[in-house]
Symmetry: C2
Subunit: 245 residues, 2 copies
């Protein structure tokens, strides 16, 4: 059985947008934080990983959102590393309210990146063994994302504080670029229920990115498709499913 | 004696920039978080304040930085509300390393804002009494900031996620705009030692801001002066003193 780590968190006003609910970047922040603390406690913190010249990167997230956490709400975050194969490690996170209701479930795929070569490295047993996750042979497929027909895009310049200590644009920033293009009216009328996002290629300081988007109707709500591109290079792709608040 | 609140924090990679040290917005985030938890524990959380139609806003910060916290470092954050007068509440924060050395000292000035009228409100005894801070008559003067001679500026559009649950641009975003104009080379060569920032007027969604800046030499380092403006309106002003890393 994989090791499970649980902690509580009080949702701050600055983790919330005008809807007074937590932003997706803030949710991913507290989730990643929980996994970092678990790693430290299992003796597999950054210092251990860096011995090998490696750092963790997230290659995809799926978020299933029952209800977004609210300003000042006390929530619990639990996480465990579930499975791994030669190149990828699979981890789940759950956010619950105080009554034990599930608010958000996250499936994340992690890889180890060689810091100098900027390339994925194979998973080392001595790094993952303490998490007691299951070794599997197959590579899990990320859900197929819709192809985009629209040419709509907004451009963004990478800012200094968009770059994290991994020397590339932090994952959370991609989500800000994707959300921002949808506009105030949309983002205060609709709430995200399902977010599928894949990170294909890192973005560096000084690059200009285009945030492409397309809005389509679904039976009960809306779907938005997103691509972050630097010129011809696809850096990230996402589908988000929304319902009226 | 004012109530003191202390907590520990593990510095995450995403709270750090390329220098692998904590960003000023991330430092202010953990500080504000500590004061929020203290307020909850004293029965003076957001729900209590909102009964009066009020919300806390920060009107200025002074940060004295001995050393910026590093990736993965375990730090302690302590805070107490020190004094208050008719319109302002004064609070201090300290970040310490595990050996007890002071890393950062922060002096913050808070006000209560009427959420509907968007105006400052006088301080209510029943809100501040549990903190056991000292009532004073005088208004403390914020250090005088240098006037700017330069016309250098960069323009920024307010993004959806720049707006927090107080319905205006979060304080941390002003600092991102001020830092970003200094460029990668400067920000990886110099480290901030003293930050003085005042918030004069809130910025709303849809506004375009200009981040004005000027660089001057001091005896042992550099000084940068900053103004955030929307047209003729001055929204925020800051001076930052830097030394070579």
């Amino acid at each position: 059985m994989a090791q499970k780590y649980v902690q509580t968190h009080e949702v701050s006003f600055f983790e919330c947008d005008v809807n007074r609910t937590m932003t997706i970047p803030a949710i991913l922040g507290v989730a990643i934080k929980a996994s970092e603390i678990q790693s430290e406690e299992l003796g597999r913190g950054t210092a251990f990983i860096q011995q090998f010249g490696l750092t963790w990167v997230v290659t995809s997230y799926v978020l299933e959102i029952t209800r977004l956490p609210k300003v000042d709400e006390r929530i619990s975050i639990s996480t465990k590393a579930t499975e791994y194969n030669k190149y990828f490690c699979y981890r789940q996170f759950w956010l619950h309210d105080q009554a034990g209701n599930e608010l958000v479930m996250i499936e994340a795929v992690f890889s180890l990146m060689d810091i100098k070569k900027r390339k994925l490295s194979s998973v080392k047993e001595e790094i993952v063994s303490p998490y007691e996750s299951q070794k599997i042979q197959r590579i899990k497929r990320f859900p197929k994302l819709a192809t985009m027909q629209s040419d709509a895009k907004w451009s963004y310049r990478v800012r200094f504080n968009d770059i994290d200590s991994n020397q590339h644009v932090n994952n959370a920033v991609y989500l800000n670029w994707m959300f921002d293009v949808l506009g105030f009216d949309f983002l205060t009328t609709y709430t995200p229920k399902l977010v599928l996002i894949r990170f294909d290629k890192e973005v560096a300081y000084g690059q200009q990115v285009d945030s492409h988007f397309e809005l389509t109707e679904t039976g009960s709500g809306k779907k938005t498709s997103h691509e972050i591109r630097t010129g011809e290079q696809l850096n990230s792709v996402a589908n988000i499913y929304w319902q009226k608040k």
